[in-house]
Point group: C2
Chain length 282, copies 2
């Protein structure tokens, strides 16, 4: 199978490494609009060849869109316009807008809307690694929009990455992920911005930070280019989740203001109980 | 050295295990108001003997207060009232109120106000382990309030735990820790409460949560009994930190509402830059 990966960052680079190791890919073509990502991937033999987008799309059997989600919206119609019987799969963190766009295109049945639930706070091909996807969940949205062959090929792709497959409706996906992924990033970005209030070069105050701070602030290192269009494409759900999150913080603030020990305790014990449920799934 | 540990939870239990291994403790006495913690520690040979508070305080060379911080405020005067030349050290996560109380007591120079920066989301003696403190930071506040011998003994205690010692003013400690530890816990508790909005027993939705959610929600498992008095004793700083944190979240919300890509980018890139500074210290 000839695989063409568009977008050679953490996800695209890790895909190339993992697919090369598996039996799935015979040859890996790549494109990235950043010349330094392209040359890094060629020098490190992460891809076999670099090609222009439309050339690679004609040549490859499967085209993987691993760009930020605004790039997926921009490139998908161009690719579908000149598609014959090949398959296009995306790796984006939002799915509603992408699925809606594919549904409008005559070749949309060849486009599989997917979301591999894997990522770390570092970005770029230098951060990529072969095991990024292993044992993680891959979501395919609205598979009823696909022809049988493209869907089967996408399933094989994720199985060759050793991922667990889940099928979902794109609207449900975007709402659930707003709460279970996207919100966590805003929370971490905001924590770093807030913690800067006590930064003090003389005393190197961040040395005081323990493991709890480290784990809650980790996602503040995430790529702005990736997350910006995710938040905007998932606008309505993000606003709902942020509003609810802020209202929970306001409850903590009110109880602290009123020195309401009982109120604080009830909030924390409810949170403990929810965490137990969450922790069984993590 | 005969060591008496009051409060046999994660911290007290880990102290006992680590001090027994080092040369510091010849005998370890323990007290906990929860009978199940006491019996767990005796059955598992974490402590040598259980004693009542005032008996243990008379018998021991060093008394370690490892209770929640409201317990420290309650017990410290009782212990100091009947102290001869022994030393009392506390392990609390807040320091201002504790240092102020000690300063008022005639035996206050024998009380060392400390904060070992170590903890995990699980609590109780069953969660304790010998290496909890290894290579972590221990803070001693306002050492100028101490006599030389109690201070030296406390230093030896933390060195025998293989901790790095830092000295700080109690007011600075409480302000810095509001931002670098206490806030992270409220942020995690609130995330669990918010994520419950998409909980769905039929679909077991928490399976969708990835590593980012896992690390930001982890502290939602933390002990309510421990954190409640921390938030209340650090009220003014917590309100300041929460207000600033909410205002940063409101900025994200506003930019998403206005689909202001540039504004979002500036926030995330500023956060990325701060994270780089933080990450050098973590």
């Amino acid at each position: 199978m000839k695989v063409f990966i568009i977008g050679l960052g953490l996800i695209g680079g890790s895909l190339a490494k993992s697919l090369r190791k598996s039996a799935f890919a015979d040859e890996i073509l790549g494109f990235d609009k950043a010349p330094e990502n392209l040359s890094y991937c060629i020098e490190n033999h992460i891809i076999d060849r670099s090609v222009e987008i439309l050339t690679g799309a004609q040549e490859a059997d499967i085209i993987i869109l691993a760009t930020p989600v605004d790039g997926i919206i921009e490139l998908m119609p161009l690719l579908l316009n000149q598609l014959q019987d090949q398959v296009v799969v995306d790796m984006g963190s939002t799915k509603r807008a992408i699925v809606e766009l594919a549904a409008k295109h005559p070749k949309g049945k060849n486009f599989v809307a997917a979301h591999p639930m894997a990522g770390i706070e570092n970005s770029g091909p230098a951060a990529s690694f072969e095991q990024l996807f292993t044992d993680k969940v891959a979501i395919i949205c609205n598979p009823e929009q696909n022809d049988r062959m493209p869907l089967n090929l996408a399933k094989l792709l994720f199985k060759s990455l050793n991922m667990k497959l889940i099928f979902m409706d794109a609207n449900e996906h975007d709402r659930d992920l707003a709460y279970l992924s996207h919100l966590s990033h805003i929370l971490s970005f905001s924590l770093a911005l807030t913690a800067y209030n006590v930064e003090d070069k003389e005393r190197n105050i961040f040395n005081l930070a323990g493991g709890g701070f480290a784990s809650t602030v980790r996602l503040a290192g995430s790529s702005a280019a990736m997350w910006n269009p995710v938040f905007l494409q998932n606008k309505a759900n993000m606003l709902e989740a942020l509003e609810l999150y802020i209202s929970n913080l306001e409850l903590f603030k009110m109880h602290i203001q009123n020195e309401d020990k009982l109120g604080l305790n009830q909030l924390m014990e409810k949170s403990n109980a929810i965490y137990k449920i969450i922790n069984q799934s993590l």
